[in-house]
Structures are given as C-alpha cells and as structure tokens.
C-alpha cells in the first residue's frame, strides 16, 4: 500500500495525486476496483485532451458493468498509462500505484471538495453499507 498522504479523492471514487510542477496522476480507488471487480478494459482520453473537474473523462468496464470516470481536477491529459491499457488487471492489482490511469497538467489549485484518505475511507465505508 503506497503512502496515501498526498492522495485526494472524489465521492465518485477517483483519486488525484500531485507529482510536482503542476502535474498529477489520476486513478480509481481501491474501494472502487473492489466494487467493480475484474477490469476488462478502460476507455481513456487521448493525450492533449482537456478534462474538467466533475465531468466524465472516460469509462471502466468490468465483468460486472460499465462505469463512467469523473475527473477530480481540471487540466490537460499529458499521458495515458499504456500499462493499464495493455493489462487492465493492473487496476485491480495496484489501483493507487502502477494502476494509475492518466497524467494531467492541473489547471489552478485542487478543488477544495476533494477528500483526504481518512475522510474518503469513512465515506467509502458508509457508501458500501
């Protein structure tokens, strides 16, 4: 389990982790992957696409269902994780590490309605009951 101090979460179960120089990684939470079950493929935006906080930026399809992905921040997609496109099971195995989805250049500050790891944990637990 990585150090989660820097991670911020949406109530739609995505995370964002600042990487310095205004860049950040975006992925889905461990709770999300366990609810989804085995990920079959991801529909992700191309490099250079603009994303908007709270808006759909792609989808994840699991054995169970297709679910939309919502951007935790606004910005521009700098890179898509080629490893998860080739091996979607990485999202199940290491959702907050090697299973990151996109690298973005963040526009402005992080939205202030994002949750830290502890707050997200309580939210996710309440959500699954």
């Amino acid at each position: 389990m990585p150090d989660l101090t820097a991670y911020r979460y949406t109530k739609t179960h995505e995370w964002v982790k600042p990487e310095g120089s205004g860049e950040a990684l975006v992925g889905i939470s461990d709770h999300a992957q366990s609810q989804l079950g085995d990920v079959i493929f991801l529909e992700l935006p191309k490099e250079g696409t603009a994303i908007t906080a709270g808006a759909r930026f792609g989808s994840v399809e699991s054995v169970k269902a297709a679910s939309d992905l919502y951007a935790p921040v606004s910005g521009e997609v700098l890179a898509v994780n080629g490893d998860v496109s080739a091996s979607p099971e990485l999202v199940n195995q290491d959702p907050q590490g090697r299973g990151w989805l996109i690298r973005v250049r963040v526009e402005g500050d992080l939205p202030n309605d994002l949750l830290d790891a502890a707050a997200y944990d309580s939210f996710a637990q309440a959500d699954s009951h």
């Binding site: 085995d38 493929f41 529909e43 199940n92």
Partner: protein, 369 residues
C-alpha cells in the same frame, strides 16, 4: 445481505477464504475469492473448486417414479440406466419452462437436481403433478452439499482422494457412489464450465472436511476455490443456458435450442401438445454473438439488424478464454444463421454499438485430451 439469505454449510469457510459473499437465489454465495479472471483461468488451465450447495436435490422414489418423471420432464427418462444422468427441462402445459434440471438414476430411484431460485416453485409443481402416480418426493436439499471440481486436472485430484475404484472409469454424464477423502460421496462426471470434472454430492455435515481435503490434495496441481462469477463466464463460453436469464417461464425449449431434450416419441408429457404446435416454426432462435475484446454485451441489450430490432441479449459478458465479448440471446429465426452480421446496442450512442456475427454455440470447446 438481506436477513432472508440462507447460509450454505460452508459459509464461514468462504468468508475465511476471502470470498466476496453476495445474495444469489435466496442464498449468500461467494461471487469470487479475489479475481473472477484468475478463477476462470484456473478452471481452464488447472482446476477450480466450486461450492454450489444452493442447488436443490429432490429424491423421487416409488413404483410409479418413472411414469411420474416421464410426465413431468421433456426428455426420455425410460432410457436412463442406473448410474447415468440426464439433462432435461420440465414445462408448463403451454410449453414455458418451469426449470432445467439433472435427473440421476440409482438402483432404488431417481434424484432431481434443480436450480436454487426455482426450488420452491419446482417442489410445488412436482407435488401437483404427482397426483395419480405412485411416487413420493423427498427434498434432501438442506442435508446435501454439492462441490464441483472442474478443470483439466480435476480427474487427478479426485482420483488421489478416492478409494474403491478408478474415477476415470466414470464416463461423462455417469455417476456412482464412492468415497472421497474417506467420506461417502456421489461422484458425478458432470459440470457447468465446459471442462472435464466432477460434481460431488455429500452429506452437509461432511462439507468442510471434503472442501478442505480437496483443496489440500489439489493445491500442488493449482486447484483454487472459484465463485459464481467465474462459474458464469465459464458457462457462457461453454454455451450453457442459465435459468432466469436465457430460459424461463416465457421461453420454450425449442426456441431455446434445447430441442435435443424434447422427446415427443416417448409419448405425451406435460407441455407436449404445445411443443408439438410450436415445433414446425418456433418464433425465435437462440444464438451466440461474438464481439471484439472491448465490447461487452449485457443482459437486456437490444439486438438490431439494419435499423430494426430483431432480438435481445439474455446473457452477456467477457469470455476470458475466448478473449472477446460474448452474448447469447434470441432473434427472429431469419437472422439466426451463422455469419449474419447483427448489431448490439451496448450504449445509447449508436457509434458505440457493436457489430458482431452470429456464431455457432458453444463459443469455447475444450481441446481433446
């Protein structure tokens, strides 16, 4: 989990093993123990162990047992010798399917194995149909566990634990009483995965000892516990119908491609007149559709030919072994020939609909051993 969900005898074992328990057919059952994909692959390449104790078992005995079953089900039970098993359906008088089931024959009678979700309905129905027959029904579901060992290495694993005979001598759709791990078991060469393997019927009180012994004996061969999730993707690849999705009270066995279990020559049975009327031209045909690896059909997706809806998906998922999205469902008969290009409405956006050819079922057939 709702309070109404019953526990199978291995409930605590599944929870200890990391099983994600979900409500299914009135029971709390393991969906997976970590990964549906991993469990699916284990069954195709090595072996998987399923607890399917939610299934119902009903003994049918008495001098009139055969006559009763011949009336009740569509297949010909008179051809069933002791030591053999038979897949069949039982129908309403209108030809709608009450349930699909296995019938086992012993020296002293028959055992019907029915779907958990239909258990209560089936028993009521069987009780009604029993009138006038010298047959008695005994529901032994609660006292029975059913474990399925499936996969290319299932044979070796069960053999290692068996005393009293070579289990490879039990041919497909045959069964015999035996001993596995020193416990009395009915060993049946059947399954719902498309792989070779056994289904073991045992006393509920022996459930944990049998489960543990199988996992221990099989661990070096790669046997792992597998849940309902893998059971569903495996049976879909193998083209097996699932009651409640692919077949039900509003479908008849002929439209469902199960004409091979309907035997009019045996004489009248419940639904035989209706099925005889349907037989010349069933209104729908059950088909398979094979899509791309990024196109996952789901139950209820409409199927189109050109701009007209001609059918609906009844089972859909990703086939991990086939490497493609797979659908089974019903279409109008003129669109059912293999090679016909149909479109499946995966999402609202027409650009994301999948174009897929009709393919012959099953999607997957195991290599000859």
């Amino acid at each position: 989990m709702s309070e109404a969900d019953q526990k199978v005898p291995l409930d605590a074992v599944h929870r200890r093993s990391g099983g994600q328990m979900v409500p299914f057919a009135g029971y709390s059952m393991p969906l997976h123990y970590g990964s549906i994909r991993g469990e699916h692959q284990a069954v195709r390449e090595r072996a998987g162990l399923f607890d399917v104790s939610h299934m119902g078992e009903v003994n049918v005995r008495g001098a009139g047992a055969l006559d009763f079953l011949q009336q009740l089900v569509t297949n010909d039970v008179s051809k069933l010798a002791p030591g053999r098993a038979l897949y069949t359906v039982m129908c309403h008088p209108d030809g709608g399917i009450v349930d699909d089931l296995l019938v086992y024959r012993d020296e002293d009678g028959y055992m019907c194995v029915v779907n958990a979700a239909r258990h209560d309905v089936d028993l009521d129905w069987m009780e009604q149909c029993r009138a006038g027959h010298d047959a008695n029904l005994e529901d032994v579901s609660a006292g029975t566990v059913l474990l399925a060992v499936q996969g290319p290495r299932a044979m070796g694993i069960v053999q290692e634990l068996s005393s009293g005979g070579d289990v490879s001598a039990i041919r497909y759709y045959h069964h015999r009483p035996g001993e596995v791990a020193g416990l009395p078991v009915r060993i049946s060469r059947t399954g719902y995965t498309g792989e070779d393997g056994f289904e073991l019927y045992a006393d509920a009180g022996d459930a944990e000892r049998l489960w543990t012994a199988l996992l221990e004996a099989g661990s070096s061969a790669g046997l792992i516990p597998a849940g309902l999730g893998a059971r569903d993707t495996l049976r879909l690849e193998a083209g097996f119908r699932l009651y409640g999705q692919d077949i039900g009270e509003n479908t008849d066995p002929l439209s469902a491609g199960l004409g091979w279990v309907v035997k009019p020559a045996k004489g009248g049975f419940i639904g035989s007149d209706a099925l005889a009327a349907i037989a010349p031209s069933p209104p729908r045909t059950f088909i398979g559709l094979k899509m791309g690896p990024r196109e996952i059909p789901r139950h209820g997706h409409p199927i189109y030919h050109a701009s007209r809806q001609v059918g609906e998906v009844t089972s859909g998922s990703f086939g991990f072994t086939v490497g493609a999205g797979l659908a089974m469902g019903y279409v109008e008969p003129e669109f059912a020939s293999p090679g016909t290009e149909l479109r499946v409405q995966l999402r609202a956006d027409p650009e994301q609909w999948a174009t897929a050819p009709v393919v012959a079922l099953p999607f997957y057939q195991r290599p000859e051993s």
